[in-house]
């Protein structure tokens, strides 16, 4: 364990005030979802107010609906998790590209501790930043936009589940990303592949109006991950419950990470 402890300390040392992770990824992972959600909430509030003032007999503007408590932090789930995964993948991918992984290998010839240390450090930061986004949106927005967010709360059943399940998803997504970059050695390939799976294949399966596509989609890791957080429409007819869905995608993501750790420990053969 000495090696892992030292590797974690080395990772923390790299996080100076000039670190892109601290001054770009963390703020963006909070600001973007808060901003997007805020614009939507403000718009709904404005429309709801206009309709209410006009009275029930007047022509109602479309929109102005109340936010349901199981959909309030969708943009945290969409943006923040991937932003933090990209930060972690970029960190390790850059080390591979710059060959500083070799410098680490000269110090700790076992090598595997570096990628595990990155998971500990980036996973913790990612979990905390996504939790901060959830707290801000579910805690503050109901007070800012009472007309459209009155059903949302930080300590409702859905709110509490979001509070731990989204940080957990972020941690596991970072594990999968780090594992994949340890295997394929290129940041851009990993990010492109992850986005392709989530936004390409899974979206395609959702829109393909055939039974087979729907059945395949139920086994998709990202669909299960969103479903496990309690997010609405993640998987309307899930083949298992939300907690089993956590186990399902966690096994997939951690398996990728385990292969990556094994790969990172291999001394080059050529």
């Amino acid at each position: 364990m000495w090696g892992l402890r030292n590797a974690i300390r080395a990772e923390l040392t790299k996080l100076t005030w000039r670190s892109g992770t601290l001054w770009a990824a963390v703020p963006l992972s909070i600001i973007i979802p808060v901003l997007v959600t805020g614009v939507i909430a403000a718009g709904n509030q404005m429309i709801a107010d206009t309709n209410r003032e006009a009275g029930p007999d007047a022509v109602q503007l479309p929109g102005g609906y109340s936010m349901t408590p199981d959909n309030s932090v969708y943009w945290v789930l969409f943006f923040a998790t991937f932003i933090m995964m990209c930060a972690a993948v970029n960190s390790y991918g850059t080390e591979i590209k710059n060959k500083t992984v070799d410098l680490f290998g000269f110090i700790q010839p076992a090598r595997w501790t570096q990628v595990v240390a990155k998971l500990v450090v980036f996973g913790t930061i990612g979990a905390l930043s996504t939790a901060a986004g959830v707290v801000f949106i579910n805690g503050v927005f109901p007070h800012l936009f009472p007309g459209s967010w009155s059903d949302v709360g930080l300590f409702t059943g859905e709110g509490v589940r979001f509070l731990w399940s989204i940080p957990l998803y972020t941690l596991l997504l970072i594990a999968a990303g780090l594992g994949m970059v340890a295997i394929v050695r290129h940041t851009y390939i990993v990010v492109a592949f992850m986005l392709f799976v989530k936004l390409g294949t899974e979206a395609f399966l959702a829109f393909a109006d055939i039974d087979l596509a729907e059945r395949v989609r139920r086994y998709s890791p990202f669909v299960n991950a969103e479903y496990s957080t309690g997010q609405m429409q993640g998987m309307p007819d899930g083949i298992w419950g939300e907690n089993i869905a956590i186990g399902y995608y966690a096994v997939i993501f951690l398996a990728v990470f385990a292969v990556g750790v094994w790969r990172s420990a291999q001394v080059s053969r050529n």
Partner: protein, 250 residues
């Protein structure tokens, strides 16, 4: 001290290192010289642990370092001066390595001080010249005051002052008993600072002995160059391909 026994590495196409036995002693500077592709960096990478030998063993100070917590106290390595994250400062670059090795800020400071970069520790590496990056690489190698140091072309990019400084550093460190194994193409410096020279060609050791013995093999005003050329001529061609045992000729 580094001891390589029967160490071999084979690459597709026939290149590699063929059954090398040699030792680099404490308190000496042992140079690896040879044509491009003769196996110098391959040997250094196997000693540093970043390349797995197909056969043979490597020990550093009598130890296999793979699982040792104090590896940095035994072996310091700089094989590539550009192996840095240029967005970091010199201080952060050395400090993270110190942390990874279980060392403290005093060790990081001592390493940067040793190479004359402590005063510019707060500058980003992106502003450093090649010569300064060589010094940063040397600081990485000297971090933790290891008893054995492995360097690949440490003089590249150094100006005249830097080369003189490097000579003095080698003299001071070897006087303290540090073992240096250095790959270099710069014959003047090899001749001036070597205790021992290993000449490689085609992945084999062609000569291993004190620098005086190598000079005795040469003739004319540039005896080192003459001896080196005579030893390696079989393994060098200027048609773009080197000659390798059992692979045919260029």
């Amino acid at each position: 001290m580094i001891v390589c026994t029967g160490i071999e590495k084979h690459f597709p196409g026939g290149r590699g290192v063929v059954s090398c036995d040699f030792a680099a002693a404490d308190g000496e500077v042992t140079y690896l010289v040879g044509p491009n592709g003769s196996g110098k960096t391959t040997l250094l990478r196997m000693i540093a642990g970043s390349l797995r030998p197909d056969a043979g063993t490597v020990t550093v100070n009598g130890l296999n370092l793979r699982w040792r917590a104090d590896a940095k106290r035994h072996l310091g390595v700089n094989l590539d001066a550009f192996a840095v994250d240029r967005s970091l400062t010199a201080w952060t670059h050395i400090l993270w390595q110190a942390r990874a090795a279980g060392l403290g800020t005093a060790d990081a400071r001592a390493a940067l001080d040793r190479v004359g970069l402590y005063e510019v520790r707060g500058k980003r590496l992106t502003t450093f010249s090649y010569g300064m990056l060589q010094r940063v690489g040397l600081a990485s190698a000297l971090l933790g005051d290891p008893r054995t140091v492995v360097l690949d072309e440490p003089l590249n990019g150094l100006d005249a002052e830097g080369i003189i400084w490097m000579r003095e550093l080698l003299a001071e460190e070897t006087a303290r008993g540090t073992c240096f194994l250095v790959a270099s193409h710069i014959f003047g410096e090899v001749e001036a600072t070597a205790s021992r020279v290993i000449v490689l060609g085609g992945g084999q050791i062609l000569f291993d002995g004190p620098v005086a013995e190598l000079l005795a093999l040469g003739e004319g005003p540039r005896r080192f160059e003459s001896a080196y050329t005579a030893l390696t001529s079989e393994f060098v061609s200027y048609s773009g391909k080197g000659r390798w045992p059992g692979v045919g000729t260029a």
